[in-house]
């Protein structure tokens, strides 16, 4: 339940940032219902808000969503969902539900944790998005409230838990520098795709054991 409330609060800022980026109320809410994976949603509206094309934003969102495939892989045996249940379960495969499910020793408890967390977060995530978007629509000039400084802070807060060892810190710093180096010369949003391509090249190095 606590994790549901936390993501509701986090959704408030998504609703506000998406609205500031120029999305309509229905577009903002649709993203939370249909995409339902926080980092991808923030990235899409972040790219749009910075003047990038929706396709650059969409590509970044998809690349960020790739980690959910690995989560699904870890969860598939545990969930053992068949038929229509699998299609619903898939939608709930995100950072939070994966963390809650694999933290349980017992398989049945893990399954329960997955579904309970999924339903709680889905509900509060969409409610939070709606409230955040409605509140921001009521404002005349979001920039006065410093909302243009909100997306980088949101990305930093999403990034921080992933920086637990030296390798990811080095990669984060390098990615930031590379993106800024390319930024003056390519369309908005493209530096992100260049960074993703470089990470893919990194994948060609010998496998660590």
């Amino acid at each position: 339940m606590g994790i549901g409330i936390a993501s509701g609060a986090y959704a408030l800022s998504f609703g506000a940032i998406a609205t500031t980026a120029g999305l309509s109320l229905i577009q903002t809410v649709s993203l939370s219902v249909l995409m339902f994976t926080g980092a991808s949603q923030f990235a899409l509206v972040g790219v749009l808000g910075a003047g990038g094309s929706v396709w650059a934003g969409a590509a970044t969102a998809a690349l960020l969503g790739s980690r959910n495939a690995l989560y699904g892989l870890r969860l598939s045996t545990l969930l053992n969902a068949r038929g229509w249940r699998r299609f619903v379960a898939a939608h709930f495969v995100i950072d939070e539900t994966t963390a809650m499910a694999i933290a349980r020793e017992d398989e049945r408890e893990g399954r329960f944790a997955f579904w309970a967390t999924g339903v709680a977060i889905f509900t509060l995530w969409n409610l939070g998005t709606l409230i955040g978007a409605l509140a921001t629509h009521a404002l005349s000039n979001p920039k006065v409230l410093g909302l243009d400084a909100a997306p980088p802070a949101a990305f930093l807060a999403l990034l921080a838990p992933r920086l637990r060892s030296r390798e990811p810190i080095a990669i984060a710093l390098a990615a930031g520098v590379v993106a800024l180096l390319f930024l003056p010369f390519v369309p908005a949003g493209i530096p992100l795709l260049i960074v993703a391509a470089l990470v893919a090249l990194l994948g060609l190095r010998p496998v660590k054991r």
């Binding site: 609060a9 249909l34 980092a39 807060a157 990034l159 920086l163 930024l183």
Partner: protein, 99 residues
């Protein structure tokens, strides 16, 4: 056009999740994939932080957003909740603009 982008991105994100729970385990157990995919969010989020803080259009700039990011960093290091981090950064930018 915006709608098309939103719907395609949502569909791709869903298919990635569905692939994880549906495809044969060995397809995704490739060690290179296991080693590289977790690095994508790290690199992309860091690139987003950098570009959204230090640029305006195609120009590199240093403005109140850098100070806001500094405040956000302190909040993150203090393990503040997500919303506190975001609000602290926005408030910093708003206050500095008032000065």
């Amino acid at each position: 056009m915006i709608w098309a982008g939103l719907l395609v991105a949502s569909a791709v994100c869903y298919l990635l999740k569905l692939a994880g729970v549906s495809l044969p385990q060995r397809w995704l157990q490739n060690p290179r994939l296991q080693q590289t995919v977790p690095l994508l969010p790290v690199a992309l989020l860091a690139a987003l932080v950098a570009t959204q803080t230090f640029s305006s259009g195609h120009h590199l700039v240093l403005d109140v957003r850098a100070a806001a990011l500094g405040v956000a960093l302190v909040a993150v290091l203090l393990r503040a909740p997500f919303l506190v981090v975001v609000v602290a950064a926005a408030a910093t930018a708003a206050l500095l603009r008032l000065l």
